[in-house]
Symmetry: C2
Subunit: 205 residues, 2 copies
């Protein structure tokens, strides 16, 4: 699957431990096109062990596999890419360290989006579209800001932050390539069903 | 400088931010033979920026430069090595990801020491020798355990945990290649003087 298509329904882990792997499988069954291993509160060792299983599953389902923040984990897990934010190793350094990884940049403004594209990011995770309990401190880009980002950059854009089955339709109308979610899918009582419902809204293969 | 000699006086940063770089220089002036960038409470970006300066300084003073936990930062900073603990990416995986890095393993028992050597660690950071306010949760290996580790492994060993100018002499008598310190040097009112005093006890070039 090409990068743009793989960004259509981008599901991010809530904890990144091995117990969450079962939910990752359900998300893939429901139609997730990419999985990101985000492991803020477990050790790198635990994330590595979970990541090995997620790498196998994403291959099995033809989805892309990304790792949040850690280039070393991404390399160790043979991930397709890494997602870097303002507090992480700089994009241009990441490109040198791991030239084969897809490098996504988390951006929170139009200026940051333009800067990240200039530094060599392969795609943008742009947000927050709406406020979200998972990342309450995130700056709000909003639908208008998102539309502006899409207009100004030529690399693929995935929208993130507070996206649900209810608002995903208007998010897609901004021209983004897809939506990224954490809790909407990973914390749903039925992960597969939640993913399918979102997939019905955003479309794609 | 060879690895064994470089482990003689191994100084670890307390915070790993740019403000600490001045103290790192003073430690090098005082005779530190290795510096480890340990950055548990700053972002990877901040650690990267501090690390670039530490890399320059260690070259200038002929010391080795290690990074704690993060293989990606070690690669990005062209460090000589990385130090990995039980919660980090496994040693054998690190060796695959970065075959040119010296890989040190943090071990807290004789069993862990033997295991780490078997998995390919290039040196051991063994401790805690004594209890320490910087890592109050660390398991105590003690002088006896340290002596046992030195006897049972053939790779270099640096002792860590609660080491001061007062007890460094008895620590060296266990046969270790050197001592590693954080607060004894980095939190001293006069970093250079504290390093020199320790250097007088442990000897070496
Ligand atoms: Ni991040």
């Amino acid at each position: 699957m090409g990068l743009r298509k793989a960004l259509r329904l981008y599901v991010i882990t809530a904890r990144g431990d091995r117990e969450e792997v079962r939910r990752v499988r359900e998300a893939l069954e429901g139609g997730a096109t990419s999985i990101q291993l985000r492991a803020k509160s477990v050790t790198a060792r635990e994330a590595y062990l979970a990541g090995r299983e997620i790498r196998k599953l994403t291959r099995e389902y033809g989805a892309l596999f990304f790792v949040d923040d850690r280039i070393d984990l991404a390399i160790a897990l043979d991930a397709d890419g890494v997602q870097l934010g303002p507090g992480d190793i700089p994009i241009e350094v990441a490109k040198n360290v791991a030239p084969n990884l897809i490098v996504g940049a988390s951006v929170y403004s139009v200026d940051e989006a333009l800067k990240a594209e200039e530094l060599g990011a392969d795609y943008l995770g742009a947000g927050a579209v709406f406020s979200t309990p998972t990342k309450p401190e995130a700056r709000i880009l909003g639908l208008g800001g998102l539309r502006e980002v899409v207009k100004r950059v030529s690399i693929p854009v995935v929208a993130i932050g507070g996206i649900t089955q209810e608002n995903a339709g208007e998010v897609m109308k901004t021209g983004v390539d897809g939506v990224a979610v954490i809790s909407t899918v990973m914390c749903a009582p039925d992960v597969k069903k939640a993913t399918q419902e979102l997939k019905n809204v955003v479309g794609g293969v």
